[in-house]
């Protein structure tokens, strides 16, 4: 029969866990409200930034274009499935390439890990593909400044990519978000695309400036979506956690009471049998 003291200790620790997850849920709910407001303002910017590339419909014609994957996660865990969804998505894409073309097929693919969660994952599975790592993400809401820093790092990384994908979680509702990818292109690809020549007075300088600016805008938009998805996912995860902890506390209390009564009954039996022996 488990020791009364052990059950009491376990009961106390589970109660503490419930308090902690409750308060994490409250904090996440507050951050989520702010993130959702910011997202409402940022969504038109993201849509406008994508419009140029959508209407230009740029395709790469190289056989094995140099690709980069930008995994927009954050440093903080306990957020449900948000980080692992992005990580698994990238891993599945890389493994599909390996299955199609052998292990050397991914030599042209590099990963930029924004946030410790993606860094930890990829340093286990694809350490050679990691190009850059960014941390100190997730503590504060993302600003345009942060996005510019990431965009700057990508463009000045020295890696001459042809196409790229920004992976983030698109926020659909409090209970659902979807892993989405946005395409990014290199300057040569944009300049050589036929739809782009329709634009008047477009020279290399303007394209370069525009691509720097729109990369920062797109990353800002993805970071805002990601932050909102992360906070809502953490809110639900912590809520489920507190509910589970509550159930465990109920079960433990019942066990505790039964054990306590069993101990008392045992003592009584000893006393009675001792008295009967006299």
């Amino acid at each position: 029969m488990p020791n009364l003291k052990l059950i009491a200790m376990r009961l106390k620790s589970v109660t503490n866990i419930q308090k902690i997850t409750q308060s994490m849920k409250m904090v996440s709910a507050a951050k989520f409200a702010k993130a959702e407001r910011d997202l409402k303002a940022a969504r038109p910017l993201g849509i406008a930034a994508q419009q140029f590339y959508k209407s230009a419909d740029i395709q790469s014609d190289k056989e094995q274009p140099k690709e980069i994957f930008v995994a927009l996660t954050s440093d903080r865990g306990l957020a449900g499935a948000v980080h692992s969804n992005i990580n698994k998505n990238i891993r599945a894409q890389l493994e599909a390439k390996i299955a199609a073309g052998g292990p050397s097929a991914i030599d042209n693919c590099k990963i930029i890990c924004v946030g410790d969660k993606s860094r930890a994952f990829f340093s286990r599975f694809f350490p050679k593909q990691i190009l850059m790592v960014g941390n100190e993400i997730g503590r504060l809401p993302p600003t345009f400044n942060d996005a510019s820093k990431v965009a700057n790092a990508i463009l000045s990384s020295g890696y001459d990519y042809d196409t790229g994908k920004l992976l983030f979680n698109y926020y659909k509702s409090v209970v659902s978000n979807e892993t989405t990818e946005l395409p990014i292109y290199s300057q040569e690809l944009v300049l050589s695309s036929e739809n782009v020549s329709v634009y008047d007075s477009l020279d290399a300088d303007v394209v370069q400036s525009y691509m720097e600016y729109s990369l920062a805008s797109l990353i800002y938009y993805c970071m805002k979506e990601g932050a909102t998805s992360e906070q809502s996912s953490r809110m639900s995860a912590m809520d489920n956690s507190s509910k589970n902890a509550g159930e465990m506390i109920d079960k433990l209390r019942i066990t505790f009471n039964r054990t306590r009564q069993a101990v008392i009954t045992g003592e009584l039996i000893e006393i009675i049998s001792g008295a009967a022996a006299l």
Binding site: P44, L45, A48, F144, Y199, S201
Partner: protein
């Protein structure tokens, strides 16, 4: 296809949306290659904006709404949608001429790249405010 007869405007900064899918008559933007007025069925273009005034005219003959932008980009797509994206923008009435002049003097005192950019923006702001008086 017939040439589009209206201009649809999206005007946004990272932290706010000023206009979204708004049908307007004309937009005047301070492009780096020169100030230009954009009407419906303008040729598609992409241009960088220097610090200055963006004017939005909702319908022919209406009074222009003036916004000061710190810089950004303007794109016009082949289907007559104009996107103005700025890092910072605010209605011109929200700015104070005296404070702008003071900040311009401070910025001009030193020559670091940040101060030079600040000076350029404040200069444009002071010019815009004095012209609109």
């Amino acid at each position: 296809a017939a040439a589009p007869t209206s201009l649809t405007l999206n005007f946004a900064v990272p932290h706010a949306t000023i206009h979204r899918n708004a049908t307007i008559f004309q937009a005047n933007v301070p492009a780096v290659s020169g100030d230009m007025g954009i009407l419906a069925a303008h040729v598609p273009l992409v241009d960088q904006l220097k610090p200055g005034i963006v004017e939005i005219v909702q319908s022919a003959g209406a009074k222009a709404e003036k916004y000061f932008v710190s810089g950004g980009f303007v794109t016009v797509t082949p289907d007559s949608i104009i996107n103005i994206s700025a890092v910072e923008a605010a209605p011109l009435e929200h700015f104070d001429l005296e404070t702008a002049k003071r900040n311009l003097d401070e910025a001009q005192r030193s020559d670091s790249p940040v101060n030079r950019i600040e000076a350029e923006i404040y200069q444009a702001l002071v010019t815009a405010l004095t012209q609109s008086k």
